[in-house]
Symmetry: C2
């Protein structure tokens, strides 16, 4: 607020001792001041004000809560949330000063965008920089996201936003001129093609230094799944050694600080349940550009309960991805794939790992839908990487899988990352029977994912579910539709209770 | 989030004892759960999740914070912020249950608006209803405000929003067919015309049951100023008796629950420093319609440091007000007034009250700018009320003021409201001298208001400042530009420090 700006130049008049409250408010720093504190009176602070907290090592902007009663704080104390404590790192007897936060330049850009002005790259740099520095509240980040949603971003703005997100974090560089990558837009349980694609294309000589995320809302991320087989928390140097020797890797990207704004934006998008095409494009491409990829295949599962709901939406997303990829000098191909039901049988880290291993090892019970999906994506990577095109590319992928080269490469990568081990199996299992005979008409990806999460996935690595019936198959009354897996009786019961209340998870047509 | 929706039907599996933390988070309820609590594990809750808290008397939706360390809570406890405590009112040994909050219907309307769909009245009712019920977080309210800002609301939508805001609260009804009102858009220190206008027009026989607000960001609201002279915290019955006997009143509207969404929306707008025309129109008109007014005069001070910055912005606002007022069957006239500098001499509750009393009592030192401004507005009310028009209306107003009828009516209303007393005078006063001779070229309304607030206004009723020089006047070096008034030495010093750092508060041209 303009009339509060200028107090920022005045010296903080009082100081208080820092007290760690142990409260996790995620990335938004919160401080608690007593209502009767001279700081609150002198500054005219009220609850939810954004105030600057000045410490010896750092100065942060935090959201204020006011203590109106109780003995949480002494008269000489200020309470800090975990995010505030981490950023300030106060010494044992350090005293902190307080003043109104200087209004952020970033927010003047956000307001300009709200009122219809297109933003230049410098404006996006300011907004993303302040988000990464923790200087914007969730309320302010929400305003930025909404101002940029609903088709209000030009292709040039999406590209600028993407560049700003890349610049805000670390960037990888690879000696090779051609570095391939793949990414799935998500929302489809069991669609764990990455370890198979990495194994096939690196066996064929392409370079694919794959970094993956852990689950945010899903029962398993690729990093969660691969972690049930080998180490994934490599640092950048360890990752480089694996890629040098094997041509590829499958590691967790979370510690590498690539496009750090992305996670913060996604958190606030989740609070609003907001899916914005512009943000999605910037999120995907910023991670790929930061990882040093040059050629990227995007898997876009499309179906009524997937993240992308309609072919029109998929085409629009593809166009937006293509336009910004060109501007960023990334070669990009998108595959719109069937997102009507889960892929494979397992849903949950170890359960999906079992599917992946069976496909790689050419096991007779390997799920064919996962195999075919992985081959389609590998073929697209092979074609984009210039090894072969069309049917020949797919043939090349299928051969590398069938003759065991992909399987040997997978094991070699795992060994290079630290070890190869068999994923575990959950101690508690319970089939969910069909209430009557009939053909499976539909499977609700979202409800199914929720059931797997309630059973404990991904924090319990062997938890989740095993799908026994796919769309189009006929089941008899009492036959298992799927099987819940859990690491504790309590979680199994809780997932069962949810399943009982949601018969529409697997929709059966009367026979 | 869709996949979490359905868990809401499951029974909360664990319960915890409520513990009052005494933390004021304003209207957003916050609960704190221990990270090791079975509730957090079983539900997969994370920081910032929106969860439903089920008590014996009420069930609320709250934002979750997670306690990761420290001894703030026992293993069997949940911590409640003041807003959560007020809404749940837990008994001494009451146990509370927890589950994911059912996604709000309101937010699906907000998302539709974000993606460009116009909203119908039912959608606004759902959003406003959830805001008043405390079911939307600040992040969600911010999304609504941004989705509706920047010219994205049609006149029909502004009208629907206004109606929804009226319906969300109490409505007053008056036996008279013609009930006049006035409202100032705000942002101009000292522009305290309301008590004068009420006194003039009720002396002339119009009915003006005026409710006013306390200051939100300014050094004084009309209710704060009138409270230094008489009681303003009347209930609806007491207010009715005053209006029955005197034809008008000057009371605080805050306890009457008219358009309760308005304050909540304004709080979040302030967090974003967002001024949206649509919200401003809905805010003003909803309060007027809820108060049962039929004829309303709007004062729109316009100037570079006022709330409305340009004549174009004033005209646009006037058109928007006019369109929605017609749809709501309110007769409305807007006056675009000079907002380039403060009105009168006092800034702060009692200091403004002294100006008002001098104008009413025809005191020789009464500030003429305030008198003229009040007469302009009173004339507009008289004309809209059908008593006289044009120059004759202003003549009527001037007569009622000059011959003491307005002054006697003011005193009668004060007596009917409880008492009449002289406002106090601050014990600490300090002139701020001109650094050199020269003509006053400009006064920054925002900085001046900030200085008055730092001196203690409005919580210290006699604090604020007294302006000694207006734009166009010549001052000598060392002559007082204004005088700071405070109720404590500390606040006086703090305001002085601010003033020293901001020589541009009063801008002097070199003589």
């Amino acid at each position: 607020m303009t009339h509060e700006t200028d107090a920022a130049t005045a010296t903080p008049p009082c100081s208080l001792r820092a007290r760690r409250l142990g409260i996790d408010t995620h990335h938004e720093p919160v401080v608690v001041l007593r209502a009767d504190s001279p700081v609150v009176r002198a500054e005219g602070f009220e609850a939810h004000a954004r105030i600057e907290v000045v410490g010896a090592r750092a100065s942060i902007v935090a959201t204020l809560n006011i203590l109106t009663s109780g003995e949480l704080l002494g008269p000489d104390e200020v309470g800090l949330s975990e995010a505030a404590w981490r950023r300030l790192q106060p010494a044992a007897d350090e005293r902190l000063g307080f003043r109104f936060a200087r209004p952020s330049d970033a927010m003047s850009h956000v307001r300009a965008k709200i009122f219809g002005s297109p933003l230049r790259e410098g404006a996006f740099e300011a907004v993303i920089g302040d988000i990464v520095a923790g200087r914007l509240s969730n309320v302010e980040i929400a305003a930025f996201l909404v101002a940029c949603a609903g088709g209000r971003m030009s292709p040039a703005e999406v590209t600028s936003l993407t560049r700003a997100m890349v610049h805000s974090g670390a960037r990888m560089n690879w000696p090779q001129a051609l570095v391939v990558d793949k990414h799935c837009i998500g929302g489809l349980p069991g669609n764990r093609t990455t370890p198979i694609v990495v194994s096939i294309v690196t066996a064929l000589g392409l370079v694919m230094p794959k970094t993956s995320s852990r689950a945010i809302t899903s029962p398993a991320g690729t990093a969660d799944t691969v972690e049930t087989i080998t180490r994934v928390d490599l640092d950048l140097e360890q990752m480089r050694r694996v890629v040098d020797s094997e041509g590829g890797c499958m590691v967790w990207g979370g510690a590498m600080n690539m496009s750090p704004a992305d996670d913060l934006l996604i958190r606030v998008e989740r609070m609003l349940d907001l899916d914005s095409e512009a943000q999605l494009v910037a999120s995907v491409l910023s991670k790929k550009a930061a990882a040093g990829s040059t050629h990227v295949v995007i898997d876009i599962p499309t179906g009524p309960t997937a993240k992308v709901r309609s072919p029109e939406q998929a085409q629009s997303l593809l166009r937006a991805l293509g336009a910004s990829a060109r501007a960023l000098d990334l070669k990009l191909v998108g595959l719109v794939t069937d997102g009507s039901q889960p892929v494979g049988r397992g849903v949950g880290p170890a359960l999906e790992a079992h599917d992946v291993l069976r496909v790689l090892a050419n096991h007779p019970q390997a799920p064919d839908d996962l195999r075919q999906r992985a081959l389609d994506l590998a073929a697209a990577v092979i074609e984009l990487g210039g090894l072969q095109s069309g049917a020949a590319a797919r043939e090349l992928a299928a051969q590398a899988l069938a003759d065991g080269r992909a399987w040997r490469k997978f094991q070699a990568i795992c060994q290079a990352q630290g070890a190869f081990r068999e994923p575990g199996v959950a101690p508690f299992q319970r089939p969910v029977p069909a209430p009557h005979a009939g053909r499976v008409q539909a499977i609700d990806n979202r409800l199914l994912a929720r059931a797997a999460k309630l059973a404990g996935a991904p924090h319990a690595p062997t938890a989740g579910l095993l799908l026994h019936a796919h769309v189009g198959e006929h089941v008899e009354r009492g036959q298992a539709l799927f099987e819940l897996h859990a690491e504790s009786q309590g979680e199994l019961d809780y997932a069962l209770d949810f399943v009982r209340h949601h018969p529409a998870i697997v929709h059966l047509e009367q026979a």
